[in-house]
């Protein structure tokens, strides 16, 4: 009975690989019990970020892996979600109504924009579309930093959260298993639970008949059209859904950071990070987002420490030291990315599933 | 009798999942004009493209002038002396007629360097090309484009011409022009493999004929024989000479 329940929860999308199952469980348990497993602000930050990026990258996978559309405007929706919450709390005060208003407003804007962009994408070739989304995302970032009255400009917006989520708030005086039950903990679990729900929802979407048609369109849109599916509708819907989930991920980000600025959510660096995560993790698998995000963010924060050791060891050799310098971790991830596109186009997940 | 210039043995070609050629065996005698007939979808264009290397045969062998060209690359095949006139003519629309010809004349760096005698002969066959020499080829009429396509194939001497439906969509008077041109071409010791659906056109020019159906050669032999045997024509092509054009 449990098996059936589980299967439905995961929309019959099984990991199909022992190792993958183990990895996914590890990530899940790690995230679920993060506040109890690690201590300090930084590790908890890393865990929260992984939760948020799992949702963001999964939403990108919906677009890229399942529908076959390359869009560089994804960070735009991420930013809209983040700004929505930020502006909501800034303007309407630290209450739940503000959160709801912020999210609702952000979702509406994302819906509108993704509809426009989605319809536009159908009139032009993929490469043309990719370039234009690049330009649009860049313009949006500039816009966000220029409308300083509204968005706080370059400095961004700092805001307060409802009392329950603030560090000052405590559920109980005594700590539980060594962890104080304060607002920060509650915030973390809010983010975690939301991320889990959103991810499972996306899993449901891609495993539904809708999702299957998307994949058919990705493989051969002529044939899909000939079979009677209005590819226009499906593609646009995919765009909208993908944007919606990205927006919600952005809302979670703002909630966690209690801050948002143009660089926090709209920068091109984040777009590149998403690309790296989805490709290395595995395009068109959803679980790839989990693996990719976890791998990447842990590397981003801890690989550098490893590289530092190596760099210090090679301090004498000029060029080599530079290559292993912790700041250059992106170089190696970039190389891994290129190798992934060639040799593991289905990413880590695909590789695990083959063996 | 000299060895055939081109032979196909058991050639199968797949396009993606589709199995188009099912073991084509074809012999193109040297110095003759061989017609490749058959209805739409029989695999004639695929055969030409496979010879030219644009699509690769999955099994079988293509031999040209004693050399196995089955796996050869298209530019190498062209350089070996094969000229291809595709069904869509392959005219470079933004380039002028002159520029199209210069490209086809591999030995010429510019229009002036093209063999003048050869060019005069081509102009005598296709006067329109001389008239519109400096005009963009895209502005030519369908028939003129077809003439340009053929002219490109003969601007320099080639051993083998592969021509795909040169008379398609052309007015009867222009088709006559074409027939005259091909007759003159035959005189120059060039081997021609011509794909056609217009049997009248075929009959006036062909020395040998091969008929394709469903990706196979179902008949081959001398054109004269087929032209006389109306029953055979009916069976192979679903028509008799008198009824068709």
């Amino acid at each position: 009975m449990f098996a059936r329940l589980f299967s439905r929860l995961f929309s019959q999308d099984a990991p199909r690989s022992r190792v993958l199952l183990v990895l996914l469980l590890a990530v899940f348990i790690g995230l679920a019990f993060a506040p109890f497993l690690v201590h300090g602000a930084k590790p908890l930050n890393v865990a929260a970020k992984i939760c948020i990026f799992i949702v963001l990258v999964a939403s990108f996978d919906l677009l890229l892996g399942y529908t076959g559309i390359v869009s560089f405007a994804h960070t735009m929706f991420f930013g809209i979600g983040a700004y929505g919450v930020a502006i909501g709390f800034t303007r309407l005060g630290p209450n739940w109504g503000a959160l709801a208003a912020g999210i609702a407003g952000a979702l509406m804007l994302s819906l509108l924009l993704s509809l426009l962009i989605g319809l536009f994408s159908l009139r032009v070739r993929a490469i043309f579309y990719a370039m234009i989304t690049l330009a649009v995302a860049s313009a949006f970032q500039t816009l966000a930093s220029q409308l300083s009255d509204f968005t706080g400009g370059e400095d961004g917006l700092n805001f307060k959260l409802p009392e329950v989520l603030t560090p000052g708030f405590s559920l109980r005086e005594e700590p539980f298993l060594g962890v104080s039950l304060d607002g920060k903990l509650i915030s973390y679990y809010l983010v975690f639970v939301a991320a889990v729900i959103l991810f499972l929802l996306m899993l449901r979407v891609v495993n539904s008949p809708f999702g299957r048609v998307l994949q058919a369109i990705r493989e051969n849109d002529f044939r899909a059209e000939a079979l009677g599916y209005r590819t226009v509708v499906y593609r646009t819907l995919s765009n909208v859904l993908s944007a919606g989930f990205a927006t919600l991920a952005g809302a979670l980000l703002a909630l966690w950071l209690r801050y948002n600025g143009p660089d926090t959510s709209l920068s091109f660096e984040i777009m590149i990070d998403i690309l790296l995560m989805v490709v290395i993790g595995g395009m068109g698998t959803m679980y790839g987002a989990v693996i990719g995000a976890a791998l990447f963010i842990i590397a981003q924060n801890y690989l550098q420490d490893l590289m530092k050791l190596g760099s210090e060891a090679l301090a004498g050799v000029p060029l080599l030291a530079n290559l292993i310098h912790p700041d250059r971790w992106l170089l190696w991830l970039g190389v891994l990315f290129i190798l992934s596109v060639y040799y593991f186009p289905t990413g880590v997940v695909g590789r695990l599933r083959k063996s | 009798m000299s060895a055939p210039l081109l032979t196909l043995e058991g050639v199968h070609t797949h396009i993606g999942a589709y199995h188009i050629l099912h073991g084509v065996d074809l012999v193109v005698p040297r110095g003759e004009l061989t017609m490749l007939l058959g209805r739409n979808g029989a695999g004639k264009t695929t055969t030409l493209r496979t010879i030219m290397g644009l699509w690769k045969a999955s099994t079988g062998r293509v031999t040209f002038d004693g050399r196995d060209i089955t796996a050869a690359q298209t530019p190498a095949i062209a350089q070996a002396g094969v000229a291809y006139v595709p069904e869509n003519m392959g005219i470079f629309a933004d380039l002028t007629v002159s520029e199209n010809m210069v490209l086809a004349a591999r030995g010429a760096k510019s229009a002036e360097a093209i063999d003048a005698k050869r060019l005069d002969w081509i102009f005598s066959l296709f006067p329109a090309l001389k008239k519109f020499w400096l005009h963009p080829a895209g502005l030519l009429s369908g028939g003129q484009k077809q003439m340009l396509a053929v002219a490109r194939a003969i601007v320099e001497p080639r051993a083998l011409l592969l021509i795909d439906e040169p008379s398609k969509g052309l007015a009867p008077s222009i088709i006559q022009n074409m027939i005259v041109a091909f007759r003159e071409l035959k005189g120059t010791d060039t081997t021609i493999l011509l794909v056609e659906q217009n049997f009248n056109f075929a009959r006036q020019l062909g020395d040998s004929v091969a008929v394709m159906d469903d990706g196979r050669i179902v008949h081959s032999g001398a054109m004269a024989e087929l032209a006389e045997d109306e029953d055979l024509q009916q069976k192979l092509l679903g028509l008799s000479l008198a009824a068709h054009q």
């Binding site: 390359v70 993929a126 490469i127 990719a130 370039m131 690049l134 330009a135 860049s138 313009a139 220029q146 091109f268 590149i272 690309l275 790296l276 490709v279 060029l319 530079n322 290559l323 310098h325 700041d327 250059r328 992106l330 170089l331 991830l333 970039g334 190389v335 990315f337 290129i338 596109v341 060639y342 186009p345 | 030219m52 644009l54 690359q73 298209t74 530019p75 062209a78 392959g90 470079f92 629309a93 933004d94 380039l95 002159s98 520029e99 210069v102 490209l103 591999r106 510019s110 002036e112 093209i114 060019l119 005069d120 001389k130 008239k131 020499w133 400096l134 005009h135 502005l139 030519l140 490109r152």
Partner: protein, 342 residues
């Protein structure tokens, strides 16, 4: 010379219409300049801004021309094109840095003799890296657009990081050589010397590209290849070699452009590749993917518009590029000079 080749279409008893050059896009840049004149008010200011705009446009053209040519011919969009630009700029800092006494000099000729090697080195190295880039990164994914986008992006990430490895992650100043600095007076208008030089170099590059494309057989092959690759191969040309050649040339041009862009900004940062990427994509979209002429006009329009709007309405200026793109696409959805593919 054959006497049967007729004289140019003066003797037109043809039924064919004469080839009409699509001249409207050619008028756009002059039109923009003329519209700006009354808005700016002052003629000398207008001259300064116009020359600044043309100079910027020329540099943008040099950078973007390689990209559009590669795309037109090979159907490959190199999201990593920015890497060659950055490479050129950083090489310039090294080469010019080592020739400090020549660049400090006021003499224009000594400066040129310093900048020229910088340009040659930039072009050479960028070209060589381009060759490696094409063979190693791009060739395996011919025809697979999705992978191309991803892989060339990856190439850019790696390239940017490697630049940081070699030159360090911080920005490096690239001061103009002594003789390039300052302005000359055209009447009452102050025109920066370097801008004039940029215009001259830009025109020279454009003219040479035009000459090669229009008057040589190589150019003929490229123009034909853009339209129908398969037919060019059927005519006996190894188009893959042409691809590589064009890619290398495009990368070399990007290197040259990088040197000039670096001198224009007087500053180079490792992220300049990514920053410039958006700009050049907008330019080639405006011009029409694959059209060199369109790229030229688009670049000029962009340069002029950026300078005019920077003066007239600085807030708007940040969006001038994307605004220009939207306007042009609304008028001609395929760009100024769409390339007719088979």
């Amino acid at each position: 010379m054959s006497t049967s080749i007729p004289a140019p279409a003066a003797a037109s008893t043809d039924a064919l219409p004469r080839t009409r050059l699509d001249y409207i896009p050619l008028l756009l840049a002059p039109a923009l300049a003329l519209i700006a004149l009354p808005l700016i008010g002052s003629f000398p200011t207008w001259v300064t801004l116009t020359i600044a705009g043309l100079a910027m446009g020329m540099i943008i053209f040099i950078i973007a021309s390689g990209l559009t040519l590669v795309f037109g011919l090979m159907d490959i969009l190199n999201f990593g094109h920015g890497v060659f630009i950055a490479l050129g700029a950083f090489l310039a800092t090294t080469v010019l840095g080592s020739m400090a006494d020549w660049t400090a000099s006021e003499s224009l000729w000594r400066n040129l003799l310093a900048v020229l090697p910088a340009m040659v080195v930039a072009m050479g190295v960028a070209g060589a890296v381009g060759l490696a880039f094409e063979r190693i990164i791009i060739k395996p994914v011919y025809g697979q657009h999705l992978k191309q986008i991803l892989i060339t992006m990856g190439g850019m990430i790696v390239g940017e990081e490697l630049i940081k490895v070699i030159w360090g992650p911080q920005q490096i100043p690239l001061p103009l050589p002594g003789g390039f600095k300052g302005a000359i007076l055209l009447g009452e208008a102050a025109v920066e010397k370097y801008r004039l030089i940029a215009v001259v170099i830009g025109l020279a590059v454009f003219a040479s590209m035009f000459w090669v494309l229009a008057r040589t057989k190589l150019g003929l092959l490229i123009r034909a290849g853009v339209q129908d690759r398969e037919m060019v191969e059927s005519l006996g040309y190894r188009i893959e070699r042409l691809f590589v050649g064009v890619f290398v040339a495009g990368s070399a041009l990007a290197g040259l452009g990088g040197v000039m862009w670096g001198l224009y900004q007087q500053n180079v940062v490792p992220q300049m590749g990514a920053q410039v990427n958006v700009l050049i994509f907008i330019v080639i979209i405006i011009g029409g993917l694959g059209s060199t002429g369109g790229c030229f006009i688009g670049a000029l329009l962009m340069g002029l518009l950026a300078n005019y709007s920077g003066f007239l309405a600085p807030k708007v200026a940040l969006f001038s590029n994307i605004g220009l793109m939207v306007c042009i696409l609304l008028w001609r959805p395929q760009g100024l000079y769409p390339v007719a593919k088979r």
